[in-house]
Symmetry: C2
Subunit: 508 residues, 2 copies
Amino acid sequence: MPWATIKMMLVDWLYLAALGIGMALLSMAMDQMIEYMQTFQMLLMTLAGRSGSSGYDYLFTYLSWLGYTELLVICSAMFVHYVAPQAIGSGIPEMKTILRGVILKDYLTFRTLISKVVGLTLSLGSGIPIGKMGPMVHMAAIVANLLSNLAENFEGAYGNESRKAEMLAAGCAVGVACTFSAPVGGVLFSIEVTTMYFSVRNYWRGFFAAACGATVFRILRVIVFKSETTLLAMYQTHFPKDGFEPEELPFFALIGVFAGFLGVLFIAVYRGLVMFLRQNRFAKKFFQKNWIVYPIVVAFIVASITYPRGYGRFLTGRFKFTKTLYDIFSNCTWSKPLYSPESPHGCSSELFGSWMNHEGYGPYNVYIVATLFATTFLFLSALCNTMPIPCGMFMPIFVVGAAYGRLFGEIVSAIFPEGIPGGTDQPIFPGIYAVVGAAALSASITHSVSVAVICCEMTGQYIYIIPLMLAVIIANAVSTYFTPSIYDCIITIKHLPYLPDIPPSNAA
Amino acid sequence: MPWATIKMMLVDWLYLAALGIGMALLSMAMDQMIEYMQTFQMLLMTLAGRSGSSGYDYLFTYLSWLGYTELLVICSAMFVHYVAPQAIGSGIPEMKTILRGVILKDYLTFRTLISKVVGLTLSLGSGIPIGKMGPMVHMAAIVANLLSNLAENFEGAYGNESRKAEMLAAGCAVGVACTFSAPVGGVLFSIEVTTMYFSVRNYWRGFFAAACGATVFRILRVIVFKSETTLLAMYQTHFPKDGFEPEELPFFALIGVFAGFLGVLFIAVYRGLVMFLRQNRFAKKFFQKNWIVYPIVVAFIVASITYPRGYGRFLTGRFKFTKTLYDIFSNCTWSKPLYSPESPHGCSSELFGSWMNHEGYGPYNVYIVATLFATTFLFLSALCNTMPIPCGMFMPIFVVGAAYGRLFGEIVSAIFPEGIPGGTDQPIFPGIYAVVGAAALSASITHSVSVAVICCEMTGQYIYIIPLMLAVIIANAVSTYFTPSIYDCIITIKHLPYLPDIPPSNAA
């Protein structure tokens, strides 16, 4: 091989590594900022609750909770509005369009990157139920594009259009991989969601960049956060290796069916909301004239509903929405007595406390809390995603699916406290149902099967791949039959230019 | 959706499920047969060793060992020769050609299927170091093709050429998935190895069929074999969740480099052997005239080398070649004292016995045994794959890579008995190095990155995905630089028709 080719290969590797590592650093810095901002909100609440009179406490904490959320959401919306409105929303639908060859103006500029990074940090910091994955995909694609442009200046080959598209595809993979520190699932998900036809030759590019990113991400977590766990997965689970019986597979299939219909409902709600805003005469007049009013109204609704001493007391304990996943995936059973040496499968009292006794209220029935939690956030995350701020919906849907799955698993466990009759004596592990539910609902909304792999990587366990695949495929089948995926739905809503799909070959 | 479309979708799903389940049953039946045949060889050896005189024992056991191997290999070669010689070899290179649109005569007929099933069962039953994956891909593709033809009879849509190609691609995925009961890795590996451009729309098809197959496969293992482990992975490992430190990553990278060069060596040896047979005047004259002589000679060489009381005593204990994987992946350290409550990381004496004291000989140094084992089988599997019988090379290479990785890990462990200085106090786990080595060597030979996923699925653990990806990508980079993949190499050797690759875009 001539020297020029070797040099070009090395440069290529270097760029991919830079992309992966750069995005990992960015993701980590943002996570850290968001953590600080949410801790500050907690602090503010504590300070506001010190007046001594319970009436004033109630008022002040509510005002500080509402004010903080409003402030961050408004800041986010204004920053994005004035710096680069291209940063609004998820970004995956736009990337899908761009990867099919359409050029969207100013979508991949440095200005948009800044707008998205700041806007997303602010909006996530406010604690509203939105996700980080879609925006991360957009950001990684921008970084990939900027790197390509940089290379173009001193190397002609990067002027090649197809090379640019390859870099963008790698960027999408890195974006997903960095969000969940899931290199394999990230590559697959980005392929499934953004492209129609895929050149296998480029497979390793996304893989390599994502691996670099994930490695740096995990090593940094060890060094920066001094976490006692070294290279663990983000939501490491601890189920035994034979955590479920073949007899339970029909239950997992049932989760798939439910998740399929729930996904259809979610997409319908989201589309309904957007269409209402666009077509209702009053909404059109009011919100379109004063663009900032809509985020204010939505933030007000969301903050009021989630206010921890109000209805929020039913929305479980952990402060940050996504952190509830630790509780939902926990390896214990509600229906058994509290954890003790005699009851190894019972939940600890802290965990129960965080679900049943919130902010000094309660105890409430844990099944009711879980139902309210899941249902409320299903609608709230659809609502939040209609705001003109950078936001994703994968993570909230994932959490909602996990909560529904957990609920289902707990009911199965309550019905069969000694495990499925006829099998071995081991009890049901509702945590596994939660993982399956999370994957099934996200799969049903995004129309992707690789969520199963993301789930395994996020939890660091591989034992439930078969229930996962079963539920994911069934959920996909149900939702594909009724509705296009959320990304295709947004493409239609936003009137983004796109090529029609090739009709399925069975229509021959 | 009109009723006709729904019906067609249902039929499609049914066919995919039938494909997956059918192949799982076939794979299981073959495994069972092979198991019986290998147990019988063991029995024969025991019977032959009862003469009372050690000299006669030696002779009789050698003759029975040699005779059994020869018999099965000759039967396999003759069956394949007379029934359908298309069944010879792996099948993956041919599938690659077929999926690019070339029609190879009689490659996908029922006759070839029979020839491949019987031939492969016989050749694997003889215990020579060959694999099952390539032939399984070929068989699954045949089953997929037969199902398509069946459907064509009463439904016009299946006459559609593109539909047939989709079924074939799903077949390839199922073949890989059934061999290792690795549904995700199977789909990815088959995509990487057999196709150039991939329609993402068909992704779920392979996924669905593979999931059906894997589910049935695992459930049957529980029911038929009454294995105490329920839905475990094939080579379930038991490493702790934080089994390696970030400081060990350079070692894993080094494994990648070594594996890359070893892969290049393997492909060169294989190509050299085939070219020698074809070009050497004596070999040409002798073997081409009497086609049955070559397998007889090779089986003689292999049986003599692996004869357990001869040189075979250095080739570790477990009778069946692939079963040594259990020992190689085991979670213990040679360099520590034997397992006891005071030495929790030491190996059990049974495990040591099976490596060091074989057939009453020994004890031999375990490092020397591992080196001899890996090196001998590296060459033997190249040799065996030149025989005119159905055979694959993925599994032997995987085992050889695991042995080299283990050896490397043990050396690291011996150098740093208290773990990497500066990290936590936990010791090195050489089993993790074995898993990484296995993935890296197979990746280097097949030029695929999804081996990392297959590895996770085979071992049922996900903790080492980052070292796996690191080593796999480095091994790929090294071997891609020096040589085409083994499949492309066979395509060239066999003069199969193929379309040239599109030149890489950096050659613009």
